[in-house]
Amino acid sequence: MAFKIIVCAKQVPDTNEIKINPETGTLIRDGVPSILNPDDANAVELALDIKDKYDDVHVTVVTMGPPQAQDMLFECLAMGCDEGILVSDRAVGGSDTWATSNAISAAIRKIGEFDLILAGRQAIDGDTAQVGPQIAEKMDLPQVTYVKKFAITDDMKTITVERALEDGHEVIEIQTPCMLTAIKELNTPRYMNIAGIYNPDKKITVWNAADIEVDLTTVGLKASPTNVFRSFTPKPKGKGMMLAGDTEKDLAKDLLIRLKDKHVI
């Protein structure tokens, strides 16, 4: 029986290129390219690496977003994933992380059986790192976040991961089915393949809210317990102070006095 992996991915604006309108506090999205969220690309790469190493592995990418998010699924399929599913419906628009994970969980239940769910740690547009763990909770699955190293036994039942911490890492053993979130240290995502781009069998399915049989009172803007009321760019820090002095010793002394005054040292 196939080992089934579901990767949760998101199409995001390339935040390297994005600016915030200081007047309105909204994102200026005009002309900003949309990309596969970088951490999600690491999750896709892990799935494809498992597919490369073992027979009969099936990788489905699931996402929620506007119709153009199909481009991101196209990219995932051109990298080698088997199938893409987009949940797209006005009813789920404006969802926060809680409502999003309700919709994605419903979509995963609709997909049916799976052995492993992967997601990126967080998306570069919101940086919340909440959707993956929420899906695991709602699906009642064991989860490990911040995965930077992965190994699986040949019977595909037991996974050993390294979970990155600020000052080290944990080694955790976990049984499938489970949920993992990937960080960029895990791997280097592959490029699309030209043959993948031209593969006519790429299967992308679009589901609306009715298709995933989700309770409409749990998705969308109104069902979202959090909402963003203002975005802003923090004011840049002021210019640094230039110290002047005749000798290096004078400069060092001056610096020490100032640091002591400010109780830095």
Partner: protein, 380 residues
Amino acid sequence: MNFQLTKEQEFVRKMVREFAVNEVEPLAADIDREHRFPTETVEKMARYGLLGVPFPTEYEGAGGDHISYAITVEELSRVCASTGVICSAHTSLCCWPIFAWGNEEQKAKYLPDLLSGRKLGAFGLTEPGAGTDSAGQQTRAVLDGDEYVLNGSKVFITNGGYAETFVVMAMTDKSKGNRGITAFIVEKGDEGFSIGKTEDKMGICASSTTELVFKDCRIPADRVLGKVGQGFKVAMSTLDGGRIGIASQALGIAQGALDVTVDYMKARKQFGKKLSEMDALRQVVADLATKIEAARLLIYQAADMKDKHMNYGPKSAMAKLFAAETAMEVTTKCVQLHGGYGYTKDYPVERMMRDAKITEIYEGTSEVQRIVIAASVLGK
């Protein structure tokens, strides 16, 4: 008429752009300086299908078309023209003639290794005494039992030092002139076949350009590509397509030079103004950008005609002529826009200008392209 790229073609550009920026550009200056063939890049290109773009998957090609192939060479050449021509010579000059002229056994035997990039290909037509006058072939092939015996040499062979499969022209019946030329498939390791001198070139220094030497080289008679006496046709039809590849290389060089120059002009200040704010220089950039776009349209049109099996020869000649001369003009002016810095190896436009020159020479000089174009307009 539809001037939009397909979704697949757009994704090919996105993919090759990312690949080129991450894998090719960081090496470009070093491999140029060291005259080093980038074997590691060729392996990566193979992995991602860049060495079999416009061929069907049944032979392990990528299943793309000639526009996506043109985009591939363009994007590689935008950052490294040497890497671009490795792909172009392999694809257009070796894979294509075997695909178009080979019999089923030959296609099954050679194409999977070539299109998957497990083996690199090259093409041998030019000789010391037969450049533009390619009918003046001195390399002879004589049938001896069920083998042909080849004697002679070929020069300026792109990928020569690293290819394992070669499409080679030789004279089988000198009395018939052009119709006495036959195309053969030669393999690395064939008895009597060796790689001669490696050229020390002005540009595309990381590509391998060598001599091929045939000294009583014996190959089985079933290595004839097409029919005996069809070699000139094989060669000319191959070069029609090759011109799309070289035009794309020229386009990539020009676009790459303009892109780095735009960045430079936005950063460089003189007389209290950025170069990008100076009207006289803006006029120059407008002309360069226009010519690049015109070259691009000619190339994609020729590639589209090739995919549709139309008579694209004169169009690919126009594309190659215009793109090559555009590359030379754009790179020369981009060096000028950089001032003294542009003349140093600290900035890539110096390399790009050296690389651009060859596109006016190989796979048919600009003069030859004008002959082809004039014949299509005025008759022969």
